[in-house]
Structure formats: structure tokens, C-alpha cells
Symmetry: C2
Subunit: 199 residues, 2 copies
DNA sequence: TACTTTTGTTAACACTGTTAACTAATTGAC
DNA sequence: GTCAATTAGTTAACAGTGTTAACAAAAGTA
């Protein structure tokens, strides 16, 4: 069955090349430039071949959306592992979130880009849930350690995420050469957030 | 010159009908459904007539973007006028910002939708600058009244806007029938923000 | 009336996502 | 080895998008 194995391998490589070609287009020319015909041209195959590997264009975009959440979850996990106290963990997550957004800008755009109605997919994805879970765990731990039983952890989580996303989004919108350095706005906002329920 | 006047009036009405038809499409079917051909069909004219009144599709979209900022600026101004103390003003602006986003969702989407590279236009628009100016004034006043000369007002403003946008964006993304009621997340986040530089 | 300008149309170009219909190559059974 | 069945890949089309050149008809002006 080595022939069948080779065929399978070739098909997988073709799928991989579709994703690589897609990513190259997105990185160099943005999400709007991504089209099936451009992909087909890049992989040197005809258009329907792309549809053999992905149901439609959305499926390709979705791949990168989920990849983004996977990467984000990994980064956030690493950020938490570095720290011991709750305050440090939250600050570290915030910093990691920021770093992710500036180093994976195209991912972030498609993960949180408004105006594109594909939220159903994202909201139900486990990749998303992992990210959410990491944040909530840290916040719940902080609440427990600070004996603030009256604090709503879900509310705190949503506030946390909203602040993070807001800072990133405004920064990405004002497309003035984004600097990798930690944003003072981030520090500012997170300090205020932390002091609202951690001593 | 009454004939020329009538012609001018008719042209203006045609332009108005283009905008009305466009808005109807956007409201009922979203921004993605807006197309020149759909507009032409709605106004019962051929396609090039639309181009007589707007240079291109972006110009139509831009109209609503600027209209959005105009409306937002008006709402924020009214919100400030209602209040006397700095804290109240900031809270009132936050609430007004939220209200604007939920009652003018389609406007908000196009004003801050990521992934659409039309920021150059928006950043240079006076409509945008007015909105910015209102927020900064209130913050500067708060800083002055609280004798916090070391506080960076621009930083505070960016943080403020980021928090507001983040909360709205996350809410709009999780398209679960948005409720008009004041978001607890908003109150939560703004309270934290205010206490970071107002006694 | 004859000329010019305005107003509007049709039809095309170059794209987009998507798919039906077809061909050529490869595989499996006899 | 031959023949049918499956697979891989193609071309060409449909329906839609933004945009514009070329043209016709109506209206205004001399």
C-alpha cells in the first residue's frame, strides 16, 4: 500500500501548499486580496483543485482563525506558567495578549474583525473555549485568593477581555507603525482593572 | 432659473434616494449585501447614475462612516451637557457611547470594523476629531480639577476609548441579542478607570 | 432650426466564489 | 493483459461584484 500512502502524502502536501500560498497572499497583500483564483495560480493547479481540499473560501479563512486561537491559547498558557501570584499572572496574560496581537496581526484581524458574520463558527470552537478557559481560571484563582466571594468571575473575565481587545483594536486601527514594545495604555488599563478586585 | 433649480433639486433628491436605498439594504441585509447594482435597482435607475453622485462605492460607505461620527459626537456632547462633575461626565460619556453603539450598530460596524483598509480617510476626518476632542476635554478637565498634573491626558484618553471600544466590540461580536440596558461590564470597567485618576 | 450639453442607457472589462461537465490517468477485478 | 471503475485534474460556465467606455435621447441654447 505504499502507492496509496504516497498519494495520501501528496494530497496532504497539496493541502499544505494551499494554506502556505494563502498565507503568503494574506501577509503581503491583506485579507481582501485572498481569492481562490490567486491561490490556484500560486499552487499551479486549476481552481476546482482548491475545492477538493476546502469546502469553500470560508473554510480556508476559518483554518487561520482557529490557528490563531490555538496560537493565542499556547502563548497565554506560557504566560501564566511564568508567574506565581495572581496579579503577576494577569499582567503576564495581558502582555502576552498584546504581543500576540502585534506579532500575529493578520491572525488577530480575522479572529476579531467586525463586519464578517462568521461568529457562529468561532463561538462554538474549542480553540476559542481554551483561550477563554485560561483567562477565567486565572481570574477565579485571583478572586479566591483575595477572598472576594461577591465578585462575579464571568463579569470580571468579560471586562478583562474587553479591555485587552479594545486596546489592541484601537492600536491596529490607527495603523501607525505598531511598535512591539509594551503599550503604556495596556499597563495603564490593566493596573486599573487589577486594583478593582485585587489587593 | 427655476428650471435649473428644479433640476438641481431633483439631483439632490436622487442622491438622497441613493443613500436611503443603501441604508435600507445595509440595515436589512448587512454591509456585505450592499452593492452598486442593488442600489441602482432600488432607485430604479441604471448603474452609472449611481456613479454620477458618488465617485465609487467607498464614497457611499464613507458617507455613513462620517455620519456615524457626526451622530456620535452629537450624543457625546449631549451627554456631557447633562453633567456637572468630572466623574459624572465621564460616566455619562461612557453610557452615551454604549447607547450609540447598540442603537446605531451598523454605523458602529463600519466606523470601527477591522480588516477594511480605509483608516486614512477616517483618521483625517473632522467628524472623527470632534469626537476625540469632546473626550479629551472632559479628561483634561478631570485631571485639572483633581490636581493630577503628572497624568498624561492623551494616554488617559486612549485608554478610555480603548476600554469603551473593547466592551462594545466584544458585545457586538458575541451577537447574542444585544440588550439596550447599560452593560454591567461597562460600569465595572469605567469605575476602575475613573478611580485610577479621580478621587 | 442647428448645435451643445445634460441625462441616462447598454454593454463591456476584469474581477470574485462556485460548480457542472468533461478528459485523462490510474487503479482493481477478471 | 484487458476492461470497467475510480480518481485527479481540466475547461468553461453561472451569477455575482466594482467600474467605465461608448452610445442614444432628451433638453437647453444660439
Amino acid at each position: 500500500m505504499t502507492i496509496a500512502a504516497r498519494k495520501l502524502r501528496q494530497q496532504e502536501e497539496l493541502k499544505k501548499s494551499i494554506l502556505e500560498a494563502s498565507w503568503e497572499i494574506v501577509v503581503s497583500e491583506g485579507w481582501a486580496a485572498l481569492s481562490i483564483r490567486r491561490i490556484a495560480e500560486a499552487i499551479e493547479y486549476s481552481v476546482p483543485v482548491v475545492y477538493k481540499h476546502f469546502e469553500n473560501k470560508d473554510a480556508i479563512v476559518e483554518y487561520f482563525t482557529l490557528e490563531g486561537f490555538r496560537l493565542l491559547a499556547k502563548d497565554l498558557t506560557a504566560a501564566v506558567d511564568n508567574q506565581i501570584c495572581s496579579k503577576g499572572k494577569i499582567q503576564s496574560i495581558a502582555q502576552a495578549y498584546w504581543n500576540f496581537a502585534v506579532t500575529h496581526q493578520k491572525h488577530y484581524e480575522i479572529m476579531f474583525g467586525l463586519g464578517i458574520p462568521k461568529c457562529e463558527v468561532v463561538n462554538s470552537a474549542i480553540e476559542m473555549k481554551t483561550t477563554v478557559h485560561i483567562m477565567i481560571s486565572v481570574i477565579e484563582e485571583a478572586i479566591a485568593k483575595n477572598n472576594k466571594k461577591d465578585v462575579d468571575s464571568l463579569l470580571k473575565f468579560k471586562t478583562f477581555w474587553s479591555i485587552l481587545h479594545g486596546i489592541v483594536a484601537i492600536e491596529l486601527l490607527s495603523n501607525t507603525a505598531i511598535n512591539q514594545e509594551p503599550s503604556p495604555i495596556l499597563k495603564e488599563a490593566i493596573d486599573g482593572y487589577i486594583s478593582s478586585f485585587i489587593n
